[in-house]
Symmetry: C2
Subunit: 479 residues, 2 copies
């Protein structure tokens, strides 16, 4: 591969400078570009194609679980945003505000939506009358804006694309069940489609969503040991319903407040794909969301019969996979490097000698393993390989997470691990946010990721203050 | 049907009050609702499902013609919007402006995009270097904002959803070809998917898009004779390229300006669906974009075997169509009216007597025609019926357009027709926008719709000023 790599401008090495390696991949794989608008990015065709595949997969999961898509306005009047106290405190400071419309100063400022709980509540107030109207299981695909000072493509931008589910239920139990059900949908999507394992659990009081009673989170670990908050699912109880005066008549003929959830994931999942799977040759994509799953590269393609055979293979695979035949005049080596940069999971090479032997060469992007495959077995071979690649990618990421997850039972051990071993730390915690603040200060940013659903008993006392422990917590730095 | 209609609250009659009939359908069919944000609407699940089906169909057509989706920022810095003179004059007056971000006053105002030519140009300047980078065939699905004083759901709202294609080409010829190709994609989509015929042609100088050299338009006629601008395709020449300094190195090794197009359609197509096809019982949807294509309604569904047979039919049709079995406790008559309101193209009724005869009742929404169909022929029958319905809907709309299209060869005839016969007027025109202004004033809003590609020679002189005629123009009022 060395010869090929020299043919394209090399990217920064992952081990040398993780941040620069990341932005190099974003740029060289043509996923996104900076725009003239501070903090906003242009999602380029290849990056957007990945997002479309993610959307289609998630949208199917949402619909299978009974959710319907809607579209709410992108503006929130200031008075509407203020209706729920904790919520406005959490979001107002990072809003973009429209103050002029059609050349006239507005009598009330409009926030460009940072999230849409308030808009959904306003609508739910109109359409929920009786228990027959429940549950309401709505989702929205849109862009939202949260003003950011320092930004990085996909990970933190002032505008980003996302989906936000907003549901209303007759009882607290049903809403809690929904909150966890959607966390499970996210976890399955990450594992099955993105080939990304993750720690899942509940956020602490300090880290939960503004206005929520409980926030659940999926926290995959990036290759360098840093966490990414990969998706969140919130249980609101009837707090918003009370603030907005949403009631329904129950079977008992009495008025009740419905119980609410919301849950969201965003284009930062593309950032996770890069930081979990990719390497010094560029992007490595799991097959299900790869815009090109198989690239066919003819070798010595001016020789008689080569292009015809390559086209035959393309036609053979096209019904089952997203296939591209690159018959351009670039040298094969240049093409190899180009599609490695783009993370195409499988490369098929076919040249005169292969044709003589009625075979082709199949190369995996993730491991560079090479196989000589009889042409009549190619389709079945590739089909199996896709699942193998996905599983292997998942397993490697799980192994990385395992290797970079540490246990700390004393304060000293915690600080030492945080300083010297990038990754997650499992440690006991008393439940007091003062300890979270202290640990964050002492470590330069290690925060509680979540309380996992299955806690281990590591010791009896809080790793910070020594008081009796309430929970085992995963700790780590985050993007 | 009379008995059924009495069971649900009737909507305003189309002939009595077209505007109220329209908003009644929007509300009763649960397509959209008003929001607390002035001029913005909530697109409800049923309305959004129609939009998703439209998107999927159009997106397939765009991709088949080589286009790729991207996402540009939703904000445009004021200086960027001002780069092209005509463009900013056209759009700045109707922009919403963000002036505060993250609690700080911005040094430069940001327009919420009313359209994205300027953002695409800024990006194209970065990614177009040589002739090998051309053409660039990009499309974007997003929402845009144009501040409106008076609004109506789907037809005119301050925020609306749309797609905007933006392409760059090496030569003027290629760009012109693209402009017309995409107009044809729109025309085909209207005819094949929406079952809506339309007049197509070129906009006059006065009516063209701000900054374009030429604007082409598709103008379907609504049931009441009023036009809806259904989609536009613009040829920009190299005007924006010059303003933005976008150049490419040609095969001749010289610098050239690329040539540009843009084209767009929006959620107002849902408005067209209502106003072209629907009737006093509610929405009438063409099968391809109907969220529910077939509704199965069991009659006397507590009788033994009825629900089982209904479920059997559902399962039989489910692979081919979007099917819903309504086994709720509402009376069949209530259900009939409900799914008529929602415009479901085909209703299948099955009761004990039908089961005895091994048949079911199939009712078309558009004509109310009823057929008794043997159960083993149902799937094939419905498949044929779908295409028949689409064709009949198209033909009826074409007939309406024909009946409401008039010819005027004198000024008096034009004014008289405009006043007494709602619809399109075909009339000759000298090419002077002063005549367009005069005719509009004299008729209370009749404007030139377009110069069709195939002009008829109706007379030698302009219907307004009597000077020599240059073109035959379609005229009419518009939404």
């Amino acid at each position: 591969m060395v010869a090929n790599k020299k043919m394209v401008e090399a990217i920064t090495s992952r081990d040398e400078d993780f941040a620069k390696w990341y932005t190099d991949i974003v740029k060289k794989a043509e996923l996104a570009d900076y725009s003239g608008v501070k903090g906003c990015m242009v999602i380029r065709p290849y990056g957007y194609a990945i997002w479309e595949l993610m959307q289609a997969d998630m949208d199917r999961r949402f619909k299978e679980t009974g959710h319907e898509n809607v579209y709410m306005p992108m503006f929130i009047p200031e008075s509407l945003l203020q209706r729920e106290k904790d919520h406005v405190e959490g979001f107002a400071p990072e809003c973009a505000w429209v103050t002029v419309g059609g050349e006239e100063k507005l009598t009330e400022r409009l926030a460009v939506r940072p999230t849409s709980e308030t808009l959904f509540c306003e609508h739910y107030k109109k359409v929920i009358k009786t228990y027959r109207d429940l549950p309401k299981l709505y989702n929205q695909w849109c862009s939202v804006v949260r003003w950011e000072k320092t930004t990085r493509p996909f990970l933190r931008t002032s505008e980003f694309l996302w989906q936000e589910g907003h549901t209303m239920h007759a009882t607290a139990e049903e809403a809690q069940e929904e909150t966890l059900k959607m966390l499970k949908v996210y976890t399955d999507f990450y594992a099955e489609t993105l080939a990304i394992p993750a720690v899942v659990g509940q956020k602490t009081e300090k880290e939960k969503f503004a206005g929520a009673e409980a926030t659940y989170t999926i926290e995959p670990m990036m290759h360098n040991g840093v966490a990414l908050q990969g998706g969140t699912s919130h249980y609101f109880g009837d707090g918003f319903a009370k603030s907005f005066g949403i009631t329904y008549t129950g079977k008992d003929n009495q008025l009740h407040y419905p119980h609410q959830t919301s849950w969201g994931t965003s284009t930062r999942m593309i950032g996770a794909l890069i930081m979990v799977h990719s390497d010094d040759d560029g992007l490595v994509l799991p097959p299900r969301i790869a815009p090109i799953q198989v690239v066919i590269i003819p070798v010595a393609h001016h020789k008689e019969g080569v292009l015809e055979k390559a086209e035959e293979l393309r036609a053979m695979l096209a019904g089952k996979f997203r296939v591209k035949l690159d018959d351009s005049d670039h040298a094969p080596g240049w093409k190899f490097a180009e599609y490695e940069m783009k993370g195409v999971p499988v490369r098929v090479e076919i040249g005169p000698k292969d044709i003589e032997k009625n075979q082709c060469v199949v190369v995996r992007r993730d491991t560079r393993e090479k196989a000589f495959v009889p042409l009549d077995e190619l389709s079945a071979f590739v089909e199996n390989l896709m699942e193998t690649i996905r599983q292997d990618m998942y397993d490697r990421a799980a192994q990385n997470t395992k290797e970079k997850t540490f246990v700390a039972t004393t304060h000293e051990e915690f600080i030492d691990t945080a300083k010297n071993h990038p990754g997650f730390i499992k440690a006991m915690w008393c439940g007091d946010s003062a300890c979270e603040d202290q640990l964050k200060d002492e470590t330069g940013g290690v925060k509680s990721r979540c309380i996992p659903f299955e806690e281990e008993h590591l010791s009896d006392v809080c790793v910070c203050c020594g008081k009796p422990a309430k929970h085992m917590v995963f700790w780590g730095k985050q993007y």
